[in-house]
């Protein structure tokens, strides 16, 4: 299982990746949409955790671009802006259970990751 973390806050994603690694989850991280696309092109990921508000490109459109390249991938949205609009955007694309408000509890994150991946298996 490989996961890609995308958030403009390097401190956040790097720490998060490390914590996931400790729990045996292989996670790479990038801090921009472009970098994320490059990573997706060169490597295989099962799931991406996206911040909704990343610079230049929004989390939602980044998801669309990635999905175009890797149709099987699943996504979890993460936001520090727990506002209505974000919630609506996130829940339309992924269902409300794959939408997390920062600060995120690591256990909840792993639960959601597992749920998302299981759903993928179910749908396959």
């Amino acid at each position: 299982m490989r996961i890609l973390l995308v958030d403009d806050e390097e401190e956040l994603v790097s720490t998060l990746a490390e914590r996931l690694a400790i729990r045996g989850i292989n996670a790479d991280w990038v801090t921009s949409g472009d970098a994320a696309l490059k990573m997706v092109e060169s490597q295989h990921y099962d799931l991406a955790v996206l911040d909704i508000k990343i610079p230049i490109i929004s989390g939602v459109s980044l998801k669309k671009k990635i999905q175009a390249k890797r149709p099987g991938m699943k996504f979890i949205f993460m936001t520090g802006h727990g506002s209505e609009d974000d919630f609506m955007a996130g829940s339309k694309e992924t269902g409300p259970e794959f939408y997390l408000v920062k600060p995120v509890d690591i256990k909840t994150l792993i639960e959601k990751i597992n749920m998302a991946l299981n759903r993928r298996r179910d749908t396959l």
Partner: protein, 578 residues
């Protein structure tokens, strides 16, 4: 409170400070006063003026009417009396010219003439011829006056001089009032004779007594020394001194006002009858004459009083109504203005809050991850020496981060509900959300909050507004309670499409006089402490906007209960002003 206090329109209750008054467009008590004064002035001054003029004119015209009428009666009566006398004098003249002196010396002839005079004119009693020596040479009549010598009598001298003499009234031998008319006839041989007749005054006495006079009128004749020549009704008997003063001589009819002996004002009309010693007098009592004027005057004053009362009543009620309308409109305008201001302020606070929350969330997330990592390293990796104390510290950091997270989320929720939106809400959750803002204070002040909720379905309303309403009321309740107070929140479905929420505290309560004002804008008992006096007025406005209703019960010392009823579906009410 007095009756006037209850009748007193609301705009009369002056706002306490100049600042509050300045929020209104107009000084309403002043507007009311000036409008009432102006309209009352414009309406009443001409009315009073016209009535006063009419009063004077009517009084004058009635007075002059009476003067004129009296004067006319005097003139007419004088003419009749004068005619009565001159007619008889003329008949004597005719006899003198028609008969030779010799014929007049014949008693039979004279008796025939007297008989004819009695038949033709009436009033003649006797007739005598007096020769130039003053001796009555011939006489017919009831008395034995033949050969009586009149040469030394006053009237004889007068008739010698003036050719005619009319006597004052005297009582004859039979105690009947008479006058004497004598005419002198010059003969060609420088001699002369006088024809003298006595007349009964019964005829013109009747004439006077038959006059119909208003105002207890009295008509009589006096001579130039004030002796009554005819009987009077109230001014003395015949040949006695009359009780009125002898009026000043005037060649024509005069009417004057004079006080009688008993102090009563009398209207006296008189005429000096020319060629006679007589003055005709008609006396009327002014008071009785003016009786009709008294009635007219009373009606006029009553009319004025009724008119003034009606006009004042109409002006007062109309002006009060109009000013009150303007006041209510202005009050609404002020309330709307402040509602808008308040909404703006809340929106700004909301934007600020959400901005702050967003910005804090990111570093908070980093703290969360870093602390989480430390904990991970301590507990999961063997490279770092495991230490319970460190784990405890990290747990403290993490729980604080969680708390911060809850706060930022609440701020974001608050900001989100600044916008107007109707959504389906669960009352239970909403009340807990609101209480979340106050739980620290409740804890600190050991205020016991109990919530008693019946099964209330989710219903359609504006979450933010309802939140604001409840927050305002609960805030006020907290302010009114002492530490250790009790707040009871109850909610129940009313069954008729309404849900009722009541919030009761056991705080200090609201004085009776203030209850009816608490929903008015700017009514505040906390002005000194930074209260705007807008909280409950906005609450009221918000409840209205939600299509609901708010009422209050309070008793000083026992507490206050606000009851809000809201429609389960705001659109059904159709009176949302959003």
């Amino acid at each position: 409170m007095s009756i006037f206090g209850k009748l007193k329109p609301r705009f009369f209750i002056l706002k306490q400070t100049a600042d509050e008054r300045a929020k209104y467009l107009v000084n309403f008590p002043l507007l009311w006063k000036s409008t009432v004064l102006l309209t009352a002035g414009v309406a009443l001054v001409p009315l009073i003026f016209i009535t006063a003029v009419d009063y004077n004119v009517t009084q004058k015209s009635i007075e002059s009417e009476f003067l004129l009428r009296t004067s006319r009666i005097v003139s007419n009566t004088r003419r009749t009396i004068s005619f009565f006398i001159s007619e008889r004098k003329a008949s004597l003249d005719f006899i003198v010219y028609d008969n030779d002196p010799e014929q007049l010396e014949d008693p039979a002839r004279l008796a025939a003439i007297l008989e004819n005079l009695k038949k033709g004119f009436g009033g003649f009693v006797d007739l005598g011829v007096i020769d130039s020596t003053g001796r009555q040479s011939n006489y017919v009549g009831p008395y034995k006056l033949r050969d009586k010598n009149y040469s030394d009598q006053k009237w004889y001298k007068q008739v010698m001089h003036r050719h005619v003499y009319i006597s004052e009234v005297f009582l004859g031998y039979r105690k009947k009032p008479h006058i004497v008319i004598a005419v002198k006839h010059d003969l060609p041989n420088d001699s002369f004779f006088i024809l003298r007749a006595s007349l009964d005054i019964e005829l013109f006495k009747n004439l006077l007594s038959r006059l119909e006079l208003s105002g207890s009128g009295d008509a009589f004749i006096i001579n130039h020394s004030g002796i009554l020549q005819t009987p009077s009704r109230g001014h003395g008997r015949i040949l006695e001194k009359a009780s009125v003063l002898i009026p000043e001589f005037s060649p024509k009819t005069e009417v004057l006002e004079e006080k009688g002996p008993d102090g009563e004002v009398l209207l006296i009309g008189y005429n000096y009858i020319e060629g006679t010693p007589f003055i005709l007098i008609i006396v009327k009592k002014r008071r009785l004459l003016m009786k009709s004027w008294q009635d007219t005057r009373l009606r006029l004053i009553a009319f004025l009083a009724v008119s003034v009362i009606v006009i004042l009543a109409v002006i007062l009620s109309t002006v009060t109504y109009m000013v009150n309308k303007i006041y209510i409109a202005d009050e609404k305008r002020v309330a709307a203005l402040h509602h808008a201001e308040y909404a703006n302020k809340m929106a700004s606070i909301g934007r600020l809050a959400s901005g702050v929350a967003h910005e804090i969330n990111n570093p908070l997330a980093i703290i969360n991850e870093k602390a989480g990592l430390i904990k991970d390293l301590l507990t999961l990796k063997q490279t770092y020496s495991y230490d319970d104390k460190l784990v405890g510290l990290v747990d403290a950091i993490l729980s604080s981060v969680k708390r911060c997270g809850r706060i930022t989320r609440r701020l974001l929720n608050f900001a989100r509900h600044m916008d107007v939106s109707i959504e389906s809400i669960k009352l239970d959750d909403l009340i807990h959300d609101v209480l979340g803002f106050l739980e620290k204070e409740a804890e600190y002040r050991s205020i016991v909050v109990s919530i008693n909720m019946q099964d209330i379905p989710e219903f359609q309303t504006d979450r933010g507004k309802l939140q604001q309403v409840l927050l305002n009321i609960i805030n006020n309740a907290f302010a009114a309670m002492d530490d250790g107070g009790h707040l009871d929140i109850m909610a129940e479905g009313k069954g008729n499409g309404l849900v009722s929420i009541s919030i009761a505290d056991d705080g200090q309560g609201i004085p009776e006089g203030e209850i009816k004002h608490i929903f008015e804008p700017f009514f505040s008992t906390k002005t000194g402490q930074g209260g705007t006096g807008l909280g409950l007025s906005i609450t009221y406005g918000l409840v209205q906007e939600l299509g609901g209703d708010i009422s209050v019960w309070s008793k000083p010392g026992e507490g206050t209960r606000f009851t809000i009823s809201l429609p389960l579906n705001i659109n059904e009410k159709g009176n949302s002003k959003i």
